[in-house]
């Protein structure tokens, strides 16, 4: 077999191809010319292809170009062999070249068909142009949107800032808008991308990091007021933080808006201060009146005694009487001062369990005689004692006394406004079996217009003349009762005798100290 194949290459056995052409010079020239030109042309094509692929490195499927180059090169070679075999009968070698050419051709043809779908998918220059135009439009739209949002960010009066939550959980300041930059004194260019603790004073950084951490933990917006020391000084802010999540749900960013409320806070404090002063004024006037009575007695007696002394009519018995009286009256003044002191101390000390009944009695005792002079009777209801021993509530006794006093004083004012006498009934309904105690203060002061009822516990709401009431009494009372876990309500009532009035009801939860149950059981 091998010897057979080797015999193919023994050219002595064949005749040159020119013999078939009878060595006719014109026919030979035609063949040689055609083959040479075709071969040369074929040889030049791969050069062009390789040059193209070499220059256009980005071209898709560049290996196909290499395959084309090889196939055309092979085709060219068969033509040159056609010229060679006119004179040299190396048909075996020519066959090998043709076989190689056939192999490369088949490969190229197959590759081309296999490649066809992917080649078809390649965008044409026209398609590319359309895509490009669409891209340009989108870029323009996005730029416009960006400008619009940048406009919001840069021009909104609200302070805005963005915080990056880093994967390690630390916080970096991303940016802040010009309003916030001015309000805080922070330079956006200098803080951008830096950790909070590297930019802000240590105490401020600790405070804001605590808030940022809370917002991340909450996973939703948080809203708070804070006092921060910043380059502009100490300011009070009302801040809202909103977390932003990435696709995996991790909080990656916090959007903050902040409003400087320093001025508003200052005004609020001034208002509170003013109302405190107004309360103090009322208190001072009351105190001045209370103190003027004993002072009056002492002064009149002392000066009268002095006058007698100069006349020579002051005997020992009268001297003793004057001095005793002065001592008694100063003691009375001392008691007034003591009561003021306990009032001034009312905010100190914590809540304690106490029996509200004596506390209410003490408030009534304080005003009963004074009101009686104005024709206003204060009754405390039947005092049948308290079954099962005293019922205790939790709070500060003097605060409850203050609330009851305020209710009495309101009832007094309402009755006085009607220009005639009236009644105030105070009752403590302490049922040991129940879990609450009720204190009611009812008057014959004409009642409260229904439209005002929902507002009477609002701060600064008053129906009294300007300068007569601070409008704070009931709101303070509401706060005190609320802090004791109780509630205070008002309702108009019609008395049997046709008189109208208001009933305030304070309901307080009862506490039972350890061991009290046994006492109740044996009592």
């Amino acid at each position: 077999m091998l010897a057979g194949v080797a015999s193919w290459f023994d050219s002595s056995a064949y005749m040159p191809h020119g013999v078939c052409l009878l060595w006719r010079p014109d026919l030979l020239a035609l063949h040689v010319g055609a083959d040479a030109l075709t071969g040369l042309a074929y040889y030049s094509i791969p050069v062009a292809l390789v040059y193209f692929v070499w220059r256009r490195r980005d071209v898709a499927f560049s290996w196909v170009f290499w395959l084309f180059a090889a196939f055309i090169l092979a085709c060219g070679t068969t033509h040159f062999f056609g010229i060679w075999t006119l004179w040299n009968p190396d048909y075996a070698l020519e066959g090998v070249v043709k076989a190689v050419t056939a192999a490369v051709s088949v490969l190229t043809a197959a590759a081309l068909w296999l490649l066809m779908p992917r080649a078809l998918a390649l965008p044409s220059p026209r398609q590319l142009a359309i895509t490009n135009a669409a891209l340009q439009r989108e870029i323009a739209e996005r730029r416009a949107a960006e400008e619009r949002y940048t406009g919001f960010f840069n021009n909104l009066a609200e302070g805005l800032f963005v915080v990056t939550v880093r994967p390690d959980g630390r916080f970096a300041l991303d940016t802040l808008n010009p309003v916030h930059a001015r309000a805080t004194g922070l330079d956006p260019a200098r803080i951008c991308g830096r950790l909070v603790e590297d930019v802000l004073p240590p105490a401020t950084a600790t405070a804001v990091v605590e808030r940022y951490t809370a917002c991340v933990a909450a996973g939703g917006p948080i809203d708070y007021e804070e006092v921060l020391d910043l380059p502009v000084g100490r300011r009070v802010w009302h801040t809202v933080l909103v977390p932003v999540r990435d696709v995996s749900g991790r909080v990656v960013q916090l959007l903050g808006s902040a409003r400087d409320i320093t001025e508003r806070k200052r005004l609020q404090e001034e208002l509170e201060q003013a109302s405190k002063l107004a309360t103090l004024g009322t208190l001072a006037a009351g105190m001045a009146h209370e103190m003027s009575q004993p002072l009056n007695i002492i002064r009149i007696w002392a000066e009268n005694a002095l006058s007698r002394l100069r006349e020579g009519t002051l005997d020992a018995a009268r001297t003793e009487k004057v001095l005793t009286l002065a001592a008694e009256q100063t003691e009375r003044m001392g008691r007034i001062i003591d009561h003021m002191r306990t009032f001034a101390r009312r905010d100190r000390g914590g809540a304690e369990p106490f029996d509200p009944a004596p506390c209410v009695r003490s408030a009534v005792d304080l005003v009963r005689n004074q009101y009686a002079l104005e024709g206003i009777a204060v009754s405390t209801g039947p005092d049948g004692g308290e079954p099962g021993g005293p019922v205790l509530v939790l709070g500060r006794p003097l605060q409850l006394e203050q609330v009851v006093l305020n209710l009495l004083s309101n009832a007094y004012d309402a009755i006085r406004e009607q220009g005639r006498g009236g009644r105030i009934a105070v009752e403590v309904d302490a049922d040991a079996a129940a879990d609450h105690v009720r204190i009611t203060v009812s008057d014959t002061g004409g009642g409260i217009p229904e439209s005002n009822l929902p507002r009477i516990f609002d701060p600064f709401f008053t129906t009294k003349e300007v300068g007569k009431g601070t409008g704070l009494g009931l709101s303070i009372g509401f706060g005190i009762v609320d802090a004791m876990g109780g509630r205070i309500e008002a309702q108009n009532l019609e008395h049997g005798d046709g008189q109208r009035g208001v009933r305030f009801t304070i309901t307080l939860p009862v506490v039972r100290p350890a061991g009290s149950k046994a006492e109740v059981a044996h009592g």
Partner: protein, 128 residues
């Protein structure tokens, strides 16, 4: 003084009233004490006074009511008011206007000498 001047003192605090009575009596005045407005009206009915000294806050009939009643009966009667209140104006019971004169207000604590001076000033003017 040809005749003893009669002064009525309406004051519900007996201790203050007693000392005023003692002082004015020693200065030559005839003094009548009343515990409130109604008491004062009754005593004045029986024995008219040349001048009335009154407290404002009293049971049954207070100083304001008493002053109104006295003014209605005698526009020229000199009155002295003693009060422990800081302010007397700004309400319906305002007694600081000219309509109430002759009337003087003394703030507690008052001194007997002060009462005497006021009393003499009012009486001197009244006598003119």
């Amino acid at each position: 003084m040809a005749e003893t001047v009669h002064v009525l003192v309406a004051e519900d605090e007996p201790l203050a009233a007693m000392a005023i009575e003692d002082f004015l009596s020693r200065k030559g005045y005839r003094v009548t004490l009343a515990v409130d407005g109604l008491d004062a009206m009754e005593r004045l009915q029986a024995d008219p006074a040349d001048l009335v000294i009154t407290d404002l806050r009293m049971p049954r009939m207070d100083g304001h009511a008493l002053i109104r009643e006295l003014r209605r009966r005698d526009p020229g009667l000199p009155l002295v008011v003693m009060t422990g209140f800081l302010s007397l104006d700004g309400n319906a019971d305002d007694i600081t206007g000219d309509a109430w004169k002759p009337l003087e207000v003394l703030r507690k604590p008052v001194s007997p000498q002060m009462i005497l001076d006021t009393l003499e000033r009012l009486l001197a003017r009244h006598a003119l």
